[in-house]
């Protein structure tokens, strides 16, 4: 039970975190009217993933290993681009709040607002297909005949669903915590957090492409702490789910991680610092 629960937790965690931060942001900036777009994106991703998962599991055709890696790897890299965009969109839109009229910002950011759907689709859809395949396999496990020493059981499905529920609950806790922060602290902390998440996704995408043989250096390890942090343990699961931390990381992954975190983090710090000297606007103090 625990092993399947941890898989569900890990797959669900990253999506839950990105979505909950996005929701917290919209609530804090009093743009609740945009929330349906987030839920629309989540809904699309869940429906598409479950649909494809079912088609690939029960239909006449399945995915090759190469296709799975290509989808996983390329979606990861696109997801990084969108989460990065989201971090800076949030800070720009928030900075303008006090100085400009709301209507103007909303009109200017209209393209950006629709991109929220894309962010939600990507955050949920990236791991969605794999999760859906897992869930359908778990469903099959409950209905199949005995294979060797394995008897039919609903336990994997229950475990995976519980894991996803825990991920959603953790996402909600993040949301509750984030909503209590004042707006500038909210940006500093969630922005920094999301940069680490995105860097992890990038490194993971690189790893997928290395496994598919598209990028070299799969066996050139920068470090291997598998003995200390077992990937199937609960803390290994959390680190993987939140930061995509891999206990055995290749040099290429580590390099990509650093090359992302340093410039993006630097730029982010510059933007949040430059905001400090301006006195908080009355609107901001209300929160």
């Amino acid at each position: 039970m625990l092993a399947n629960l941890l898989i569900g937790l890990r797959e669900g965690l990253e999506a839950a975190l990105v979505v909950s931060i996005l929701v917290a942001y919209l609530v804090k900036t009093e743009r609740r009217e945009l929330l349906p777009r987030i839920w629309l994106g989540v809904g699309i991703a869940v429906a598409v993933a479950l649909g494809f998962g079912a088609a690939l599991t029960f239909g006449p055709r399945g995915l090759t290993f190469e296709a799975q890696e290509a989808i996983g790897g390329s979606l990861s890299i696109v997801a990084v681009a969108f989460v990065t965009w989201m971090i800076f969109w949030m800070s720009t839109a928030a900075r303008g709040l006090g100085a400009e009229l709301r209507g103007q910002i909303d009109r200017a950011a209209d393209g950006g607002r629709w991109s929220l759907v894309v962010v939600a689709v990507l955050a949920v859809g990236r791991e969605g297909l794999e999760t859906a395949l897992f869930l359908w396999a778990a469903t099959q496990a409950g209905t199949r005949d005995t294979i060797g020493s394995v008897t039919p059981t609903w336990e994997p499905l229950v475990g995976a669903l519980l894991g996803i529920l825990v991920a959603v609950a953790l996402g909600h806790l993040i949301y509750r915590g984030a909503i209590r922060l004042d707006l500038s602290a909210f940006f500093t902390w969630t922005g920094a957090f999301l940069i680490l998440v995105a860097a992890g996704v990038l490194a993971y995408g690189i790893h997928d492409l290395q496994e598919a043989g598209i990028l070299p250096g799969l066996h050139a390890l920068a470090f291997d702490v598998s003995d200390a942090i077992a990937p199937s343990s609960w803390y290994g699961t959390l680190l993987k789910g939140v930061f995509n931390f891999s206990p055995a990381t290749t040099w290429l992954e580590a390099t990509a991680w650093v090359l992302y975190v340093v410039p993006v983090g630097g730029l982010f710090l510059l933007r949040t610092r430059s905001k400090r000297p301006t006195p908080p606007s009355p609107q901001l103090q209300e929160h």
Binding site: N4, G62, L63, V117, E130, S149, E155, G159, S226
Partner: protein, 399 residues
Amino acid sequence: MRTKTLLASVAALAVAPMLAACTENASSGDDGGKGADARALTVGSSADGCELSATKAPAGTLSFDVTNTGSDVTEFYLLGSDGLRIVGEVENIGPNLTKKLTVNVPEGDYFTACKPGMVGEGIRAPFTVTHSDDEQQVSASDQELIDQAQANYRSYVQDQSGQLLEKTKQFVELYEAGKDDEARALYPVAREHWERIETVAESFGDLDPKTDAREADVDLAAGEKWTGWHRIEKDLWPQDAKGYTALTPAERTTYGDDLLANVTELDGRIRATGADALTYPIDAIANGSIGLLEEVANGKITGEEEAWSHTDLWDFQANVDGARVAYEGVQGLLEGKDPALAKELTAKFDALQAVLDEYRDGDGFVLYTALEPADTKKMTDAVNALSEPLSRLTAAVTS
């Protein structure tokens, strides 16, 4: 607009690879009298074991149904003979779950590995993929490289043929009009396009002798007629020919028109579509590269080809150009199969080019008559150094 593009591209990104790379789901379970498919295997992964239903399978699309019979999460890998390269993997197989790995595998030696707990080397065992009588399965990426090489080579040949026709037209006009200096200047330049695709042109057994025969190859005594490039060459450079009688304007027109007609016919055949379209199988491209270098060794390096104009080095360079283009067409494929050979060939092509570059003169080259024995020795050595590894090209790319 922008948002729609974004959404569309995300959707396309998610769906395209699935359509491009989906594969038959093996009919597991329902045993419709066909017996167990030798390409559908099952794997039982427990805490300390990795049991396969077979350790051998015929080449082709294999499926592994991996069932986790242990209590920890597991993974299953199919690894290359070096034990490092990942041919295929399934991750995140929870206890009591079955997941399928579908992968296209060519003949060879492999390893299977179950990784309970997702750490370490895993529980490994050798796995053999045997030769299959079914149509040879080519992995998607190789097929893509092959298709690309064929398309590129076809357009290269067609482009050269088009330029050959264009320059031949100009050359024949100048020659027939008696503008000999200009015709002499254009002669080696027009022929470059012929020499670059010489192996394709030679494949038309009826056109080649009419177009590119040397005087020595023609049995005049038996009544064979000598026509084409070299017949005109002799008329433009009669200095070395003792007692040569220049062609009359009417004869010039006869030989000129004949050359243009044959080159036009060649271009038409190269451009043919439908059932008559030329095909360039990957081994033909590789053999074309080898053949063009042989042309260099047999004719150009000896100065036999251009007996009157002595512009052999133009032909030499053009043959090398053609050989290099053909090789570069299959280079991507070769790098996947024999990276050491690819590296060696690139280096030897560079070295040969460096030797040729020493003999450049303006837009062209020095005449063959200006070469010392030491110069041709240097060229022969560079050609021989390339032809040995090049002779292994076809076998390597078709393996």
